[in-house]
Symmetry: C2
Subunit: 259 residues, 2 copies
DNA sequence: CAGTTTAGTTCATATATAAAGACCAAATGT
DNA sequence: ACATTTGGTCTTTATATATGAACTAAACTG
């Protein structure tokens, strides 16, 4: 249903492939690995080479991405950075909670993870930047939704596709809206197996100079279950420490402030 | 003639676009900027969003690449790094020569710039990682060619397309081979307007743990013209400083060593 | 060094896809 | 509150493109 541009997606696959293998790869290897016809693989590689994104570190030992990727990615990240204060804040959360923590933004009907610090526990929630979860069915997403103008939120929730992911998945726009209002009154957003099985999490909205973000702490329900309220208090305190005592008053008056 | 995968190239264009503008862009903006139909632009953006490579920093203010790009690029760069010693070496060359210096590897018939430090002079040679120049017609490329097994070099030179770029461009495989032999005997590779007009440069081959690299110092001919020999001596000395006194003996016995 | 296997390249064509245009929604201005 | 403009989405189809197959060149192997 969604229109995927095949060769753009293939290029991303290739990019991810090199990131995980970390080794040069020959045409034959790539063709084999992805199940692409040799000729197609050839064309794609040629394109990348022509544009200076792929080279041969060692003669006849295969191709590898040039530092150009890193260069461009750094320029991009540098121009519209997640402020250092945010990274500090995240690190703080990670340290206090010992669970996996992340920052998310929005993209259509989904929340996208922008920065992740994984828990040190062996059993933990695992994710990386770029991971997407449905906005309406997750605490992370709801903490984004609550920052939108009412009208836009209404539109988004109307167009959402309501699928049952777990026991607590909301199935109508009304339900989601109710959860959001209730969460604002409570002061934090909660998820407990609504989207990811056995996952418990606490999210807070985090508007920052016009950017619409949210922060989440999450882990296995058996660890998080009883600690949610406590985690929420910690999170709000951390927000105030990092972004100013009156941060919520100024940017999120609708959110209940915990003691 | 070369087969370019259009949508892969478009994706690269988009990537580069964000790196240069550094701002979020809406579908309409992108469509307008590239002259792509709205529908095509939509499809491409959708693909990127679906894969977690694009998000909306601010509601309705357009899309921007997620940190995922940076993440992957860092993993890639980290797994097969240009050693720090190489970067130090480059910096040293830049400081000594006050000209633009770079490191290059090979990709098909071209040399690709992997790392560049630009001259502080207002009039200087400008380049960035990913830039490609024909292997047979540049000092940078010839310094790579000389490291190949004779047979591979022969094949490459046979398949090369000989185009006249400037006064000194070699036009046959034989000419290139002669230049290479002569340069090895001299101890360094020279270019003077053979490919880039008014550009003078000195290159040395730089094989490093199996990798086939070359280093080049280049600037406008009016500055470099009389300093080539001197620059070459400095470069060889720098190589010995950074990679060991007997580096050339061990890795490049064919290269004449300057006093 | 000849024979065999593997790797890379080219090309015609069936097929998947990019794009034109119509449509819809939501801001913005009056 | 209405009209207008702007931004985003959907669908159909002509067309550009991905690919199978055939080919060439290089690397092994005994």
């Amino acid at each position: 249903m969604p229109i995927i541009v095949k060769q753009a997606a293939n290029l991303l696959d290739l990019f991810e492939f090199f990131a995980t293998t970390g080794r040069p790869a020959s045409l034959a290897e790539l063709s084999e690995h992805f199940g692409w016809p040799k000729s197609s693989t050839f064309n794609l590689i040629t394109t990348l080479v022509e544009r200076g994104f792929l080279y041969e570190p060692r003669p006849r030992q295969g191709f590898y991405p040039t530092p150009r990727w890193l260069n461009l990615a750094q320029e991009i990240a540098h121009a519209e950075p997640l402020p250092d204060s945010l990274q500090d804040f995240l690190r703080d959360l990670a340290r206090l909670s010992k669970e996996t923590v992340w920052l998310a933004g929005s993209a259509g009907q989904h929340a996208v993870f922008l920065s992740v610090i994984e828990s040190p526990h062996a059993i933990r929630y695992t994710a990386q930047p770029g991971k997407r979860v449905p906005m309406h069915a997750t605490a992370t997403g709801q903490a984004l939704l609550c920052q939108m103008p009412d009208q836009r939120r209404a539109v988004l929730l109307r167009n959402a596709t309501y699928e049952r992911f777990g026991s607590g998945t909301p199935m109508t726009a009304g339900e989601v809206e109710a959860i959001i209002q209730q969460s604002l009154k409570r002061g934090w957003f909660m998820s407990a197996s609504a989207y990811s099985q056995d996952l418990g999490g606490v999210s807070v909205p985090l508007p920052l100079n016009g950017r619409m973000l949210s922060a989440t702490v999450a882990g296995p329900l058996f660890r998080m279950g009883s600690l949610m309220e406590e985690t929420a208090v910690q999170m709000q305190a951390a927000v105030k420490r990092h972004f100013g005592k009156d941060y919520f008053n100024r940017h999120l008056p609708a959110l209940h402030q915990l003691p």
